[in-house]
Amino acid sequence: MVRRLTNSEGKQLWQDYRQGNIYALGELLDVYYSDLYHWGMRLHHDREFVKDSIQEVFLNLWKVQQTTSSVENVRAYLLMVLKNHMLRELCDKHNKLQSSLSEDYSFSVEFAADFRMIEEEREVYQFRKLETIMNSLPPRQKELLYLKFYQNLDFEEIADVMNLGRQSAYNLFQKSINNFRKNWPVTMLMLLFFGAILNIF
């Protein structure tokens, strides 16, 4: 995995952009492009639409350069702005009211476990089960897990991007973790238990 820009490096570029350095904004586009594109594709699976949206968001940032304020996490901020922009565009396109889409938008993600370093058959089985559980979670929970583990945001940032309060974001997270707890496929304890029984015979 390519190393991401650290938060302070992102902030420095943002600072330069606010002072009128167009190349700093260009560089932000360069380093965050894959993340933004990936995120956009989750919200609406249309390559050209996503690419146009990213361009529009950045041109807009340049247009309001003099009035933008400083931000804590540039990447999280850009994800949020792109999402708002895309949802607004989609509303206009489908002649819908903004409010109807702000909570009820689609989010398509396919979680696929990382099978490297897994040697045992039963562990693969376990991962398959977890995959099924994860992929059948409600869209908002999937979005949260995606932001947490793919985009690596913290709850503060996730709350901003998902337009939730910090506590609601954390509750949503707990809800999805409980889903796993309840449906945990085969626990290690059970395996140990079976192992012990087998040993007796």
Partner: protein, 368 residues
């Protein structure tokens, strides 16, 4: 301090250090395994957390580096052609000629005529540049941007070139560029992003001229400084003195060509231009931008050639004697000079900056 003893499934899954470790991005690889050994009753819940994180993997949609570069270029292009709203650029044009201004204007005109006359007298044909620039001042009212604030000031010129003017600096420029070249006059410091046009862009700073075809660079020329400096971020610029050289020998010293990451200093008292490197060279080869340099038993010359390409700076060294040096190293965001320090230390060599290039000296390694 985190209370690891009472860590729940949620705590593990929420811990960015833990996530980094599972996703293979962590620096400290031993912490979590040793944690599991120290708290055996936490081992299972930790394993579960690990499995959840490993399951939450998403395939990346591939956007190629080339595609991203094209997108960035498209953005820069459209952004440059866009009107900036709410611009705070202070521009003082001399268009409104009220009566007192008219008086002053004629006074200025008189002085200028005097200077032209004097120059004509002293330098009959020689200094065409100077005369041209002054007549242009006359024809085309010069606008002036002056930065009295303590923050950089952005000025967009008529050809969409962007100048970021440092505090206590001023720039005079024609409100509309006309003729065969684009001339601006700088006092102090500014960084230029010049749009590509067939007519050259020239920055006049006292006795030094910086000429470009479209590039990014910084010029620094405060009256109180002994030196005028030009630093090039990308593209190619030529820097030369407006004064004709005294001896034929000094001819070469009177003009230099700079490429990315190179800088020039003009010493005011000696009328000499010297070439060196910018303080912190940046990667110019965008393909390498986010890629780490990773080397495993690689001959030093290969690494040096890669650095050379990445930073666009020529590096001189004896390829033969360093061929035997094998290097294992990972570079990420170190500066060029930090990388060179490391490499040189490993093979007990030294480097110096000579005339805008890097020279590595050392006896090399005996190949076995």
């Amino acid at each position: 301090m985190k209370n690891y003893m009472s860590y729940t499934l949620e705590d593990f899954v929420d811990d960015q250090d833990f996530i980094d470790w599972v996703q293979g991005r962590s620096d400290s690889n031993d912490f979590w395994p040793s944690y599991a050994k120290r708290f055996p009753d936490k081992a299972e819940v930790m394993k579960q957390a690990e499995q959840i994180i490993r399951t939450a993997q998403v395939h990346t949609d591939k956007v190629g580096k080339r595609e991203i570069r094209l997108e960035v270029e498209q953005f820069l292009h459209s952004a440059r052609n866009m009107k900036i709203v709410n611009s705070e650029v202070k521009v003082f044009t001399k268009t409104m000629l009220s009566f007192p201004n008219l008086m002053r204007a004629s006074a200025i005109a008189a002085v200028i005529v005097f200077i032209i006359g004097l120059t004509w007298y002293l330098l009959p044909i020689e200094d065409g540049n100077f005369e041209n620039s002054i007549s242009e001042v006359m024809q085309n009212s010069l606008a002036q941007a002056k930065n009295d604030t303590d923050k950089p000031l952005r000025v967009v010129l008529n050809d969409n070139s962007i100048v970021v003017l440092s505090p206590q600096s001023s720039l005079s420029y024609p409100s509309v560029f006309s003729g065969s070249d684009r001339k601006v006059y700088l006092h102090g410091e500014a960084s230029f992003s010049v749009t590509h046009r067939s007519s050259p862009f020239m920055v006049y700073t006292g006795e030094m001229v910086t000429k470009v075809m479209g590039t990014r660079f910084v010029v620094r020329s405060f009256d109180h400084d002994q030196k005028i400096s030009v630093q090039v971020q990308s593209g190619k610029v030529s820097v030369y003195s407006t004064k004709p050289s005294i001896s034929a020998n000094a001819m070469e010293k009177n003009g230099v060509i700079l490429t990315a990451n190179q800088a020039a200093f003009f010493e005011k008292d000696k009328h000499q231009i010297s070439k060196t490197l910018v303080a912190n060279p940046i990667l110019v080869n965008k393909d390498n931008k986010s890629v780490n340099f990773y080397y495993d038993e690689v001959p030093l010359p290969v690494i040096i050639r890669e650095l050379e390409k990445g930073y666009g700076i020529p590096i001189q060294f004896d390829e033969q004697s360093f061929q035997g040096c094998r290097i294992t190293a990972t570079f990420s965001r170190e500066t060029l000079f930090e990388k060179l320090d490391l490499l040189c230390k490993t093979v007990s060599a030294t480097y110096e900056i000579v005339d805008g290039q890097i020279a590595i000296n050392g006896s090399g390694c005996s190949s076995l």
